[in-house]
Symmetry: C2
Subunit: 248 residues, 2 copies
């Protein structure tokens, strides 16, 4: 995990072991209640949040760099992680990085490339909300789940990064990997519908949705039902394809 020592050593000498002007950023999605959420870090002493990310070592593939970020932030190893877009605008980071390092009292040479243009490769991860123990670090006050419907002020172009990740999820909604990784192993039809609604950002007709899902043939209805709550016991379902076969 990022300590003051780690950051100081990075700028003193480790920077040379990294590919300059390149980073990875991870949009880590979890589903909770009826909300699609992303994991964000609050920058220390600033009202600014950011996606977890990191630089890429010269002897490290892009995928490995993203997996490292994910492991550090969530403690999870085998998760569905996909590259979705490279962000290479000219002014995507502006002065924000400089502001953060000044705030935490780290001296960074003016010509250090992290203060200048950085191209970031965006990855999205689909994780089980309940299995994640968010952890903050030296550069952040906290790390927490925020609803995609109601994001706090984001650093850099990270609002745009989240928007493009969400669009990619929408485009891939036909593939069961998304539901299978964001839902628990066994779920009810209303839970599945709420996930679709959260990703699509709009309400769906209950009967049409149920019909379409059952006809798709990807679901298996389990013998037991979910009891408890005010409503009548709901059928439980699971995906015919096992979750393990869908993850990476």
């Amino acid at each position: 995990m990022l300590s003051r020592k780690y950051v100081e050593t990075f700028f003193e000498k480790d920077i040379a072991r990294h590919i300059p002007h390149l980073s990875v950023d991870c949009v880590i999605f979890g589903f909770h209640g009826a909300d699609l959420k992303v994991l964000l870090l609050k920058w220390k002493g600033l009202d600014l949040w950011a996606l977890p990310g990191g630089y890429v070592a010269r002897r490290e593939s892009l995928d490995a760099a993203a997996q490292k970020v994910l492991l550090e932030r969530t403690g999870l190893r085998r998760v569905h992680l996909r590259q979705f877009h490279a962000f290479g605008g000219l002014s995507r980071r502006e002065g924000s990085a400089r502001q953060l390092f000044a705030r935490v009292g780290i001296k960074v040479p003016d010509d250090a490339w992290p203060l200048h243009r950085v191209v970031s490769i965006g990855y999205y991860a689909l994780v089980d909300y309940w299995k994640v123990r968010p952890g903050h670090d030296f550069l952040s006050d906290s790390c927490m789940w925020c609803s995609t419907d109601d994001l706090p002020p984001l650093a850099f172009d990270h609002r745009d990064v989240v928007r493009v990740a969400l669009r990619t999820l929408r485009e891939n909604l036909a593939s069961p990997v998304i539901e299978a990784t964001l839902l628990p192993e066994r779920f009810t039809m209303p839970e599945l519908q709420r996930l679709h609604e959260a990703i699509l950002g709009r309400r769906l007709d209950r009967r049409n949705f149920q019909k379409r899902m059952l006809e798709s043939g990807i679901l298996e209805r389990l013998p037991e039902r979910r009891t408890g709550g005010a409503h009548r016991a709901a059928y439980l379902y699971r995906f015919k394809t096992s979750r393990a076969s869908l993850v990476n």
Copy 2:
């Protein structure tokens, strides 16, 4: 266009004006006959072909760098160009670049980054086959259309780059932008079917295909028919949405 002078000057001094270890590569698709084709450059004096690509200037966005490559190679300005994946494997370029520069007699310092690891942002472009005048340059013997079914030996990881671009096309086949940019303004139903077959890599049932296309409501049947050939005159269609509104 790339001349000997341009390449020499690049390694002498222009290299510093570029983001190190970063490039763009373009998979330029055209449709001809029943074949989906890509534009490839044959490396001078070597039996090795490569996708058109280039490095990214420090004051140039990724999209602008890809557009520049496309303009140089096809002469076309307003084309459908989309980023689809960043290729960042550790050994994706191996010794190939060194071999090419040696072959054309350009001295490149051993520590110059183009001889080492380069992360490449892949773009695909959909162009009108008939509007392209392929042009080669100082580093290549020729520039020509090759069928995606029968690719020559490719440099770097470019076979993989083409494969991922093709998979992205398949995933996006539901969107009319692909047909609208690869087909001429007016086309017959068999032409549309052959394009789908070329992208999907499999034959489709004629009647089902026609039914599905007509029901989708995206096509407009024109009053005139295509005459000539052994068969009875075929209906001509066009997309209801204008091509211009679909391009970029």
